[in-house]
Symmetry: C3
Subunit: 263 residues, 3 copies
């Protein structure tokens, strides 16, 4: 029997016992499953961030991996829990839009099931902690070979987030910061394919930045220099080499970013 | 041979090499053991927090799991290290009270051994890092099938923490904040069973809160609303929906919480 | 087939999808490898810290473990990527000096290969994320038994960091803070072997500290007391018992530390 991989993504942090309890509840169903922590530092209740995070990581996993995602401000309400198959990956998530970018980039789900059969849950279900009481045991049972069709009915609809799209202008493209990474790099929603010509103008928030380096990688610019480059997720990125662009520019998620191109 | 599960709980943080060294020392004894990180973010030297954390996570693990806990301000002194069996779980911890709540909720230990046989330790033991030099190798040897009775003598006494108990008053119940979670929710020491009637008065610290929602789950109140509910650990919890109750109310561990009930 | 252990050390943090993507890229090459997180909280681009961290953790691992280290400010430039064997450990790291202390303490590398054969990389390699596109798949292939000699040519030179050495003075020894741990303890670069006589004078930065306890372990001094002791990494350490020495003394990495000894 090959080992079964389950990844965990939550906004629980690690100062609380929630991740620990969830892992226990999962291992109690299947002692042999292999758990991979993706992150427990998704910003609290930030579904849009989760959507970005998942699209930037899930596609790299081997086919058949089960990704358990608990960023779930609607816990205990009538929001659905979904079991999803898409492009060989399997996910268990609240139906709150956190898969929006996955579906955009990997295609629509090939299987979509509403998880509602309590037989696979813990006997007592807390209204504030479905991660431990529903997601974990359901993931455990799936890893033991339970057929997804046993979990509940097939559904055809799902919640989609509105994610801001970049706009083409006469001079270039207008987008915004999608995500600030751990280094303070600003990852925008502007696809690299927009930059067919050399960028020669950059505005972040209300700062028109005259001097920046258009580079292939950080090391091509000097330490402390402002740089524009293609991020590893395929979008344009504003960085300060070995510095923190978010701090330097006072920018964050949602800050408008304008890029102009040479003729 | 089934795989052996060992969980790790420390206050070492992940910016230091201590967790990494400890995992290595353990894997060097048994290469095949499976390590599960519970948390390395227990607040520094906070035994009371560890006691809460363990009681909220350990019971969910499969029987036979070995939980290694190193929150150990007394490292290198004559405080004992204990091997404990309780309700099917196994633990290796300093004898400093961090099991107080486990014993309260899971019952007294069925086996209690003072770990003092250096044969199973690293050859050189640092006086400041028993996690690497004693806990890790002992856990490794246990996972290889070493009988706990080889580790040292059976003992009958252990250190117990004083944990504040809620007090019933004429109008309701008086407790305090036991724990602030990653979301800023205030988990109190007041058991849910206290709330047989509808709570109609709430005081946190010296703030008398006239308006709060008594709900089953976060989603039943509005975003930003103050809510009182039953937490996933079974106690009353004060929350701000999609907000941070600890910040809003200026509350932390030990802040008094009073709940009054309708007649 | 014994399971193959791979450890991961990065400065990516866990708020970003980079660690998650890297694990996926690795598991996609070898689904059965066992991943051990050492830390993803190495301070951003801090090669000197990484050098300290690795020397304090890598030696504790079982022989044959592969350590993947991505603290890589030079990503995408012509800095080399090295496959290294040293004292039974195997490492995959940028050639930027992060192995300096490993080589100091464990000896020079017995094998050193420049990783440059793209056959073992992801097909498309991002100039800003070699962790996902080169390090992860190469580690995966090594775990499947690919011979290191297939990865590229043997090399004989590597980058070395200048690491400050302590200086012996007439009254004692002059060093500096090498590392501040999670507890605020100041680990210096002064080896314990310097303290053949009893320390009787301590200066941290420009503070001459008249009163400190020279102890074997934290528990020998009182809570809140300043203590000098031998750290678990073998150097002198300045601590405040159950407190934060870095905060109390306003000290950080590089702060000078002077220790004088009794005659």
């Amino acid at each position: 029997v090959p080992e079964f991989l389950i990844t965990l993504t939550t906004d629980f942090g690690l100062e609380s016992p929630y991740v620990a309890a969830m892992k226990g509840a999962l291992l109690s169903v299947n002692h042999s499953v292999r758990l991979i922590d993706l992150s427990h530092q998704i910003p609290a209740q930030d579904i849009r961030f989760a959507a970005f995070f998942l699209a930037a990581s899930v596609p790299y996993y081997p086919a058949g991996t089960l990704h358990v995602v608990v960023v779930d401000p609607g816990v205990g309400t009538d929001r659905a829990i979904l079991y999803v198959e898409v492009a060989g990956q399997r996910l268990l998530t609240p139906d709150n839009g956190c898969l929006t970018r996955i579906f955009e980039t990997m295609g629509p789900p090939t299987t979509l099931i509403r998880v509602q059969e309590p037989h696979f849950w813990r006997e007592v279900v807390s209204d504030t902690f479905n991660g431990r009481d529903i997601f974990a045991p359901v993931a455990g049972h799936l890893s033991l070979g339970v057929k997804p069709s046993k979990l509940g009915p097939i559904v055809k609809e799902w919640v989609t987030l509105e994610i801001p799209k970049p706009v083409t202008t006469s001079r270039g493209v207008q987008g915004e910061v999608l995500f600030v990474d751990h280094f303070g790099n600003l990852i925008t929603n502007i696809p690299a394919s927009s930059a067919q010509r050399r960028p020669n103008a950059l505005t972040v928030g209300n700062r028109l930045l005259h001097r920046f380096a258009w580079v292939r990688t950080y090391g091509e610019a000097k330490i402390g220099q402002l740089a524009l480059l293609v991020s590893s997720v395929g979008n344009l990125e504003v960085a300060v080499v070995q510095g923190d662009a978010a701090k330097r520019l006072g920018a964050g998620v949602g800050t408008p970013v304008d890029v102009g191109f040479a003729d």
